[in-house]
Symmetry: D2
């Protein structure tokens, strides 16, 4: 990978890895057990500027390029994909706002998001909508003078438990609409969801909005543009972040598997000398390298605003999440019974990895989108 | 399947399924959460005779054939593979004892095991031995007059937390030896292992034996026979039980997946109308049918004491556990985000299924054993 | 398997295997190379009664049960799935006729089919229809007094090159219709298709029917019943035959792989001692056992006319053909470079196996049908 | 990919694709059928400089960088991996010679190789050696004054039928030795191998050397260095070439699959609208993108002489060849029956792809090498 990164990117990558090794890795298992991340850790992350990494300097962001953003997410994903999700949602809200917010909205919210003074959450998914954005039930009723009244329920919202600002997507009449909703608004009710299979520290919540008043200042863009313009920006960053986070988990699987394989003695040599284990590791390590390159390609295309950035990001998310699930599956086998206990990092990887295939669009949605894309690009056949 | 079962077997199968539907299925999720099975449930199971199902009538067993034993395990596995493991360990200890115990040992222990008054546990695995039985560290030191002194540590012992009687395998000098060790013996220390990835209600424990006195009455067979004669009997029943338990979980995956697919509405039809879902379900359902037949074949061969019973049981365990992992993986995808929460049965299946690939010999051990078997049966090649 | 077969079935199985070892196996590679099967071989097969194995005695058939028919196909598939296809098509035509033919049609055609004096071919697939039977373009135009005039083109017709009698499916108006068409009829043109990837000796042809006169004697059943009643009978036998043929090829892969693995010396031992090879063989051998049981279950259900016979046969065909492709893939790897040359049986298996996934309904059609079936059988979900 | 290529590389890529579209693609099927490539085509390739693409200008080579060499091989692989193998073997011999040949050997042979006046072949594999280089049976007997006498048999030698110069690896005593052997030398016997599963136009041959006199001028390097120094250079280029060739075939699979899927009409839309097909295409297209990146990374690392070049090339070859086999498998399914006939490009891809997993080291050898590499790089585990 190094030969594809600039000096600055490599230097940042070292910094990210050190930060994670010191402040995240030693505690990730405990956070998972308690389903909580200490406020102090969030402060550390905020102070390092990681919650505004892609925002411009003028909004107190770091103005890092997308490749660097990917490296940041990978480094965090190595230790905790659940914590990485904090970077995900913050970027989804911030970048949507940067691209589609009014001047006033940007100056009001972005610096606080960049500095991590507030946490944003992307309130899109609903109990009955799944990945089908056209069947959202959340409604914005016109309340005069550009204001609205909001009713609806959002669920599986990462960091919904602690977020200060929700970016809520719904409909006004037949027009999709996106609004910013501060958590303290009257009529916002947050219900924590505990007992997740994975991502147990991601503060997942169900949010109910009951007659919440939305002043016109908090409406993002015009009615009609939410699904085709605003949501795609959020999902693009959500997918990049999730793909890179999966890449980190994949790296964790390889490192923990090889460490275990060499440490585990057999009568003749170690587990790492077995042919069957070589097969597993060969696939895992090659997938890791391919995943890293796909993430890099997606990040670069996004940075360069290339038209293929969307497809490349879909491919990165699709490949990395599947590879992470396979790798965690094999990693548990390499660890054996010990790998089935929460003291082993691979047990957590096994649970967390599955959610990588669900978040920001399931594997099946990705297959549908990619399949259609490739069909549309088909060369004409003579017969 | 029905055309392969006798009337009596079919009738028992109905009984088992009713028992499980009433006494197990509604509570399995809760037990998993609390890592505990109520004593009352164990009583119900014991009273139904399920803890002595394969023992002869003379020892208060039910004397059911191996196919019926398989159906029992499948029925329980449908709701909780972790609880099924109670049937597994009881059979492993009981059947080893039935086959290799002295007349006195049998009349002393078997009726109480059959009636479920006591629970047995198979204390084979050690922290550093994994699946390699020849590197066991547990030692029986001769103490005169056929008695021994036992020192060693066993781990990942299912129902070790509550078992009354341990069948312990170790070495005396270079000879493998098996002994019965009542839990109340001086020097037996049981340490519960909580926080498992799956099988959270299987009462898994680490057992330490410190200078435990073993009277000659509790020595099973002669020194030297443990690994080649006694352990294989236990593992045979352990694998049958685990294979059928995996079959039950696989059935659970199909039923919960199709139920969800038909209930989940899309704008056009349901999830169950999608081509991608058909592919997943076709594989899942076909694997289920194949798994059921492999279990049946293994049970029948065991019942008929055919030489191929060993290989057929390896195949059943290997296939069913792998198929269960695949099915649980797909089932979570079909459920989507909801499938990643513990309220969904499939989230628990996903965690439990992985242990099916580890218990009673990992998938890799099975591949090694089966691979060697097929190579040995190879036809001679001319060139 | 033996414990599931009657004495008579086992005895027949031995006979079939001996026949194949003597008359088929030594020549299969050569036939593949020349894309031809000697007439003398077809005579031997006919004389053994194998072309009328499932027909009643009264029509000069053998009246063997469906399990025995499956064993016959498996034995032939072990040496040549392409030759087995002769049994396939003969059964498809014969059994459709037995079930839906008039008394006169049966007494006229069945004895000659049973004795192998004539070969039948099932003319269903069309250049533009694929597996979608509702888009057939072949037309029967009414010609008065129950007679028709036939126009259309059928393709990929196994043994179309040599068949004496075609069972042709098309439409008259909007009604599907099936007719018998002797090859010597005026307007029948047979164009051999050479250069197939596999099944090179199956005499595959494209048949064009131009204004062929169909007397009312040759119309099978009434207009309207062809697709829902007649074709399903043919496809049922076609799928059983193909599934069992795939099972035979799978057995070939295991036998040739293990033979090679033990014969091929390395510096330390043989290829058969390698862990990676054990993994491949474990899967191959377990798939083989599962495939055999699925075929048996499908045959028994068909024999007993159980409602689940259709689904079980789909599962057998789907599983066996996929397993055969995987096995052939691994078998070539185990053989290495030698396995990529036509002198190695596995090179032919590799080419032939792929067609097993296409014939009598592609894997995707099977997934579609099975997926729908499982969805329809879904338990109701509470929420 | 474009954003990773220089202008010059992109421009060459366009040139290569045009050359292949004009001179290779239209004839590849016919060459496959006849197992022959016209001399005129080889001339065209030679005149374009493609047989000396990586050799320095001073030897009449093109001096193209390794990435450009990869693009060349990919472009050819798109139409014919068998023809691409000509580029493979020429580079294997030329680059070994460039790196390890004496000044005289280089000036004598390299310009003729670069200009394509002679074709080289890499004579390494033996009937009984497979991938185990330490068991080669070929012997160089000392004949005084640095000369040798050569005896041995090499097999599966690509372009052995037409090669003018063999690079032969064997042993002198216990020391591995590499020599150049002109085809016209006394005692060289070339036996063409026809009837391959794939790579039918690659002129594969078995070469027997009987008492061939090797003057000291034709000895490459000193005795002892052949296996650790010379062969690795050849294999490195062989693997890069094969990986990129597989990448080309993979691209062919995607293009032919999507073209077919859009052209093939169903009652409702086309095959390209089906969910199942989207799943296949999503995997195929994502694998293609990953494969392209892995090839690029391997080529760049080789160009930059990075220590990880060896491992990256192993990963590229391993991933691309496996992905090509999977893609060809799916491509045939998407084409249906038509895909099983040699008129369909995908039927040839299916046969050719399998050899990609065997040539220049089987998939299993790659798993062994990669597995060991990852194990050696394992982080130390605390416990």
């Amino acid at each position: 990978m190094h030969s594809f990164l600039t000096e600055a990117q490599q230097s940042r990558q070292r910094e990210f890895r050190e930060f994670v090794a010191r402040h995240v890795a030693p505690f990730a298992a405990e956070w998972d057990r308690t389903e909580k991340i200490p406020e102090a850790t969030v402060r550390l992350i905020a102070n390092a500027g990681y919650l505004g990494s892609t925002l411009p300097l003028e909004f107190d962001g770091k103005d890092w390029d997308t490749v660097t953003f990917g490296l940041l997410n990978e480094a965090f994903g190595r230790a905790s994909v659940a914590l990485t999700d904090l970077l995900t949602v913050q970027a989804m809200v911030s970048m949507s706002l940067l691209k589609w917010g009014s001047k006033e909205q940007k100056s009001r919210w972005l610096p606080r998001l960049a500095r991590g003074e507030i946490i944003g959450a992307f309130a899109l998914t609903e109990p009955d909508s799944g990945s089908d954005l056209h069947s959202l039930q959340t409604r914005f009723t016109e309340a005069g003078a550009g204001a609205y009244r909001l009713n609806g329920t959002k669920t599986w919202i990462s960091y919904g438990q602690t977020a200060d600002l929700f970016l809520v997507i719904g409909y006004t009449g037949s027009q999709p609409l996106a609004c910013l909703v501060p958590r303290e608004s009257l009529g916002v009710q947050v219900k924590p969801i505990s007992g997740m299979l994975g991502y147990r520290t991601a503060g997942i919540a169900r949010i109910t909005f009951t007659d919440v008043a939305i002043p016109d200042d908090d409406v993002l863009g015009k009615p009609g543009v939410a699904l085709n313009y605003i949501v795609p920006v959020g999902l693009q960053y959500g997918r990049i972040s999730t793909a890179c986070s999966a890449l980190g988990l994949l790296r964790g699987c390889l490192e923990e598997s090889t460490a275990r394989a060499t440490a585990r003695k057999l009568r003749t040599g170690t587990v790492g000398d077995l042919g069957m284990i070589h097969s597993m590791l060969a696939r895992m390590g090659t997938d890791l390298h391919a995943a890293a390159l796909l993430c890099l390609a997606a990040c670069r295309a996004t940075e360069e605003r290339l038209p293929e950035a969307f497809t490349k990001t879909l491919m990165a998310k699709y490949f990395c999440s599947r590879a992470a699930v396979r790798a965690a599956d094999d990693a548990v086998q390499i660890w054996g019974a010990a790998g089935c206990h929460e003291d082993a990092p691979v047990a957590r990887y096994y649970r967390d990895a599955k959610l990588l295939e669900i978040l920001e669009g399931t594997t099946q949605i990705h297959e549908e989108l990619l399949g259609r894309t490739f069909v549309q690009a088909a060369p004409k056949q003579a017969n």
